[in-house]
């Protein structure tokens, strides 16, 4: 079995705030002092562990302030983990060889606004020691693929938010990376822009790349992710394939029956968790464990007409909200 594209074990990040903690190299002393105003500690990530397999699309979910970006920054070498370890493409975090095969788009990217797209991508290509010809070809292809051909003569300061996001993705792909890490790639995009990014992520997966992206837009995750992790308050709350995570222990079924005689309706209401009158039809909500076949048989036997039977699976939103509430509980 091949090594995972990305793995972290018990990753912890504690920020030492206050004057002393802000000085490089004084974090440890600040931690020992623990005097308010001089040193304060905030634990942003508390022992996060997960693996991302090669070739999969992995969604990293969490509400604002959950620790998603902090975790990603540790993976990218922007923050030093307080403890714990991790690997990127089989190398320890921060290893140069891994970074050579990595692409990264930060959250709310901001770039050198005086550069034009080709200059901008050429600069990033040089950081990967690509030849001038490689840089030119790759930059032109990415500009074309991301729909920025009309803006090649424009400096980045004249780009819209969506265009900045696209050129940001282009810089993340300039080196044709094996692992692409995207922090909130859909942020600030309109529905068409989001669809374009989703299509691009699918395309990257088809090319055999691994995509790790964070988001709080659940719809996007449900549409494209193979596996997800939910992080809340710096702790991992759920991890696995969407199909497994969304298997609900409290599955419900809505049965809508029309033209049901009043006596039968009252009898069946007693078997349901709740009912809603919809004109001449009634919607019965049956709880987990209810015998739906028998219920429908009874309704039809009483002269009713079956309108619909809709099983309610647990949505990602249900799971997310439940985990968020669990995480917020004292």
């Amino acid at each position: 079995m091949s090594t995972p594209a990305l793995s972290v074990t018990d990753l912890v990040k504690t920020f030492d705030l206050g004057f002393l903690g802000s000085l490089p190299g004084f974090g440890g002393l600040a931690a020992r002092l623990q005097i308010k105003g001089i040193a304060q500690r905030v634990q942003a990530v508390r022992g996060v562990s997960f693996e991302v397999q090669r070739g999969e699309i992995f969604g990293f979910l969490g509400p604002n302030g959950a620790g998603k970006t902090t975790t990603i920054k540790m993976l990218m070498g922007l923050l030093r983990p307080t403890s714990g370890s991790g690997t990127l493409l089989g190398h320890p975090l921060g290893h140069r060889e891994a970074r050579q095969r990595l692409g990264f788009l930060p959250e709310h990217p901001y770039f050198y606004d005086y550069l034009k797209p080709m200059e901008f991508l050429d600069f990033y290509g040089q950081l990967f020691a690509m030849t001038a010809k490689e840089r030119r070809q790759r930059a032109a292809a990415l500009i074309e693929r991301l729909g920025l051909s009309h803006a090649v003569g424009r400096p980045l300061r004249k780009f819209s938010k969506g265009m900045v996001q696209r050129i940001g993705i282009a810089q993340a792909l300039i080196n044709d990376p094996e692992l692409v890490v995207l922090d909130e790639p859909m942020s600030g995009l309109d529905p068409i822009g989001r669809k374009d990014i989703r299509d691009l992520i699918f395309e990257l997966k088809q090319q055999g790349k691994t995509i790790f992206f964070s988001t709080h837009i659940l719809q996007d995750v449900e549409m494209i992710c193979d596996r997800v992790a939910i992080i809340i308050n710096g702790q991992m709350r759920a991890l696995g394939p969407l199909t497994e995570l969304l298997q609900s222990p409290t599955q419900q079924v809505d049965v809508v029956v029309g033209r049901l005689p009043e006596e039968a309706a009252r009898r069946l209401e007693g078997l349901a968790q709740g009912t809603v009158r919809l004109g001449d039809a009634i919607q019965f909500r049956l709880g987990d464990g209810a015998d739906v076949d028998t219920f429908v048989g009874d309704a039809l036997g009483a002269g009713g007409r079956l309108v619909s039977v809709v099983p309610h699976r647990r949505s990602l939103e249900d799971l997310f909200v439940a985990e968020a509430k669990r995480g917020a509980a004292p």
Binding site: P24, L78, L79, E97, R99, P109, F128, G168
Partner: protein, 262 residues
């Protein structure tokens, strides 16, 4: 090396396209032209005044611009979060810092050259001699600026732009008088030495050994009296300046490599 050059060139391009930088150069050039007016008002001392004030303005403005740009250089990358896309690339953090220093050094070279050209034109106007000593003096001004670039980057690797700017200007101001500090022996008003004053003197002498000796780069006396500076002196001052800059960058890299980018 290619990565350092890429970062350096990008830094240079950013500075050159920056309107604030262009405005500062224009302002410095306007002040230089005022020198011409002042020197023409002096009695038969036009050439001497032009050399003296011209070199002073070139040096002072170059250092001020180096401080202004230098202390903001790394901070801007962090504040505008452009560094978030650079650090994950296959570069070492010290390469980023050296690239930044290279870019700023190139920018300052252009700045000193522009001021040198303005100065040369003024010499033509008053028909003054622009000898080798002027070229040597301007070259040493540039080396002094490189020392300041190193100091500015050192402070900005762990501090805010304002504090870094104040500290760098302090180093510049004291550095100009380091040659006097190293022999400092404080005395009372009556001319006596006391243990307390000896301790303060020793402390000042210690500080003087850490700070850069910028008096090496003040060669106005040579220029005013048309004396060519010995090449061995130029080489020694250059070697000292580049070494000081390298040490500053090494210490800055140490701090920078431990820094978190929140």
């Amino acid at each position: 090396m290619r990565q350092i050059w890429a970062i350096g060139l990008n830094t240079f391009r950013e500075a050159i396209r920056n309107r604030v930088f262009a405005s500062l150069i224009m302002f410095a050039m306007a002040l230089m032209l005022m020198t011409l007016a002042i020197s023409s008002a002096s009695l038969h001392e036009e050439e001497r005044l032009l050399k003296d004030v011209g070199l002073f303005l070139t040096s002072t403005f170059s250092v001020l611009i180096a401080v202004f740009v230098g202390v903001n250089l790394v901070y801007k990358e962090i504040d505008r979060k452009t560094i978030f896309t650079l650090i994950p690339k296959p570069i070492f953090r010290f390469q980023f810092l050296i690239g930044k220093a290279l870019g700023l050094s190139l920018t300052m070279l252009v700045q000193v050259l522009v001021m040198a050209v303005v100065l040369r034109l003024q010499f033509l106007v008053v028909d003054a001699r622009f000898g080798l000593e002027m070229v040597q003096a301007l070259f040493l001004v540039y080396i002094e600026v490189l020392v300041i670039v190193g100091v500015a980057l050192l402070f900005s690797s762990f501090s805010t732009p304002f504090l870094s700017g104040m500290l760098t200007l302090g180093v510049f101001a004291v550095g100009r008088f380091v040659d006097r500090l190293v022999d400092l022996r404080l005395k009372t008003g009556g001319g006596d030495r006391t243990p307390e004053l000896d301790q303060v003197s020793a402390l000042m002498r210690g500080v003087a050994h850490i700070l850069p000796d910028l008096s090496l780069y003040n060669t106005t006396t040579y220029v005013v009296y048309d004396k060519v500076i010995e090449w061995s002196y130029v080489a020694q001052a250059t070697g000292y300046g580049l070494t000081y800059m390298a040490v500053c960058l090494a210490v800055a890299s140490f701090f920078f490599s431990r820094r978190d980018f929140v």
